[in-house]
């Protein structure tokens, strides 16, 4: 009996439930206050800019040379993409892009396709870090940035692509090529409010000889490798060569450049590139393997075999793991060319 009563009290005591309701009310009121009063939570990055403006970025900047294509129907994706591609020297119109980025049934364009389409034109699509400082750095460097905005209010969702071409922080405005407006001035606060709901998504699509100023090496080289799938080989070669100048000790950039040189039949150039990489990364298994392949093609199988044995010796390191099978295959090929079986 006593046990039963205690349990009942613990579960449905009127005093407890009143207290609980009160606590919910207080929590709700606090949340509402935080939402109304704390603009920091609505536009956190704009608030952060008040504390610290990104180092090395001018307070105002605008690239007036960026062209403008008024959007037709729901085709802000093709229009925004044409804006950045034409600014980067590609000759096309938004209509040329409709077939590669517009989805009729969705009446819009997907982010992944906005990234994929420029690759066919030999442009490197690079998604920016989801931060104001990355966006401002690119715009200040003269690189127009495609952004995804949600222009809806409350529960309404209204996805839209626009191109940021400039900003004036003292005036508190960003300048966009947007919809049918050539130069739309949007306050930083409003812009962040619309930009936030898409996860601060932004991208640039630049010619291979121009690396985004905010790019990191790994992300940029992945972007170049993605372009290499569908672009003209010369564009990838130029992109890797440029990346190697910006990040001289990056092994991936060296391998990328050497692979393009190898594909072109420029074996001596590929060897030079890989030797330089090997001097900086003596245990890099892909460098050893690819250099061995190049040397073998040049008829220097003895040197190739020595490098492959060195690669298999280095395989104890965890980074070698994925490439061991490739090294064994290359070794078998070299041995075959030497007329040996072991």
């Amino acid at each position: 009996m006593a046990r039963g009563r205690r349990r009942t009290r613990a579960l449905v005591s009127p005093r407890w439930s009143v207290w609980q309701q009160g606590a919910r009310l207080v929590a709700g009121a606090l949340l509402l206050l935080a939402g109304l009063g704390g603009c920091a939570s609505l536009v956190p990055q704009t608030m952060a800019l008040r504390e610290a403006w990104p180092a090395g970025v001018a307070l105002s900047s605008e690239n007036t040379a960026v062209p403008f294509f008024p959007q037709q129907d729901y085709q802000c994706g093709p229009a925004a993409l044409a804006t950045v591609l034409v600014a980067g020297g590609v000759e096309l119109s938004p209509d040329d892009l409709v077939k590669s980025v517009y989805l009729p049934a969705r009446q819009g364009s997907l982010q992944v396709e906005m990234l994929a389409a420029p690759r066919r034109y030999g442009r490197v699509s690079y998604p920016l870090a989801p931060r104001f400082d990355a966006l401002l750095q690119e715009v200040a460097a003269g690189n127009p940035v495609v952004v995804l905005q949600d222009n809806g209010v409350g529960p309404l969702v209204n996805w839209h692509y626009a191109v940021v071409v400039g900003f004036d922080y003292p005036a508190g405005e960003l300048y966009l090529r947007s919809g049918e407006t050539r130069r739309l001035a949007v306050p930083f606060t409003v812009f962040e409010y619309t930009w936030k709901r898409g996860g601060y998504w932004a991208m640039v699509a630049l010619p291979p000889e121009r690396i985004p100023v905010s790019a990191d090496a790994a992300g940029y080289l992945a972007a170049v490798a993605a372009m290499e799938r569908v672009a003209a080989p010369e564009a990838a070669l130029l992109a890797y060569a440029t990346a190697l100048r910006r990040w001289p000790d990056n092994a991936t950039a060296s391998i990328g450049l050497a692979n393009r040189q190898y594909a072109q039949g420029a074996l001596a150039a590929a060897e030079a590139t890989l030797r330089q990489a090997l001097a900086q990364h003596p245990d890099a298994v892909p460098v050893l393997n690819n250099l061995a392949q190049v040397l073998s093609d040049l008829g220097r199988n003895d040197e190739a075999l020595a490098l492959l044995d060195r690669a298999l010796g280095a395989q104890a390191s965890p980074a070698a793991g994925p490439f061991v099978a490739a090294v064994r295959e290359t070794r078998a090929l070299v041995l075959q060319r030497m007329g040996r079986s072991r």
Partner: protein, 117 residues
């Protein structure tokens, strides 16, 4: 005895299937794609998965009104990772289309008179 042998055989085959790599049959250069994605697990099983994802995405594109050739071309321009993220999500991800300035004006006026930066 016979059953024990079968069990052992099964275990051996299961382990062999998992651990033995697929033969690509091409002794050559390690590709840049392989090197730059080596940090994110580049397992052989992802080859199979990737083919399935691409086929699925092409189908989904066709269902959304693209012709077969366009759908294939568009999927071909995506990386394995991009296709992996998109497959099965094509109707859930944002599709930017509208440029209704009327809606932005509502927000604009709310904020314009409050503060701009």
């Amino acid at each position: 005895m016979n059953s024990a042998f079968k069990k052992m055989m099964c275990r051996f085959l299961a382990v062999a299937l998992i651990t033995l790599p697929f033969q690509t049959g091409q002794a050559s250069m390690i590709s840049t794609d392989q090197v730059s994605s080596a940090a994110t697990v580049q397992a052989n099983r992802s080859l199979v998965l990737n083919h399935l994802n691409r086929a699925q995405t092409v189908n989904e594109f066709q269902a959304l009104g693209l012709d077969a050739q366009q759908a294939r071309d568009r999927v071909a321009a995506m990386t394995d990772e991009e296709v992996g993220n998109l497959a099965g999500q094509i109707n859930a991800v944002p599709a930017g289309g509208d440029g209704l300035v009327a809606l932005i004006l509502v927000v604009f006026f709310i904020w314009y008179f409050a503060f701009r930066r």
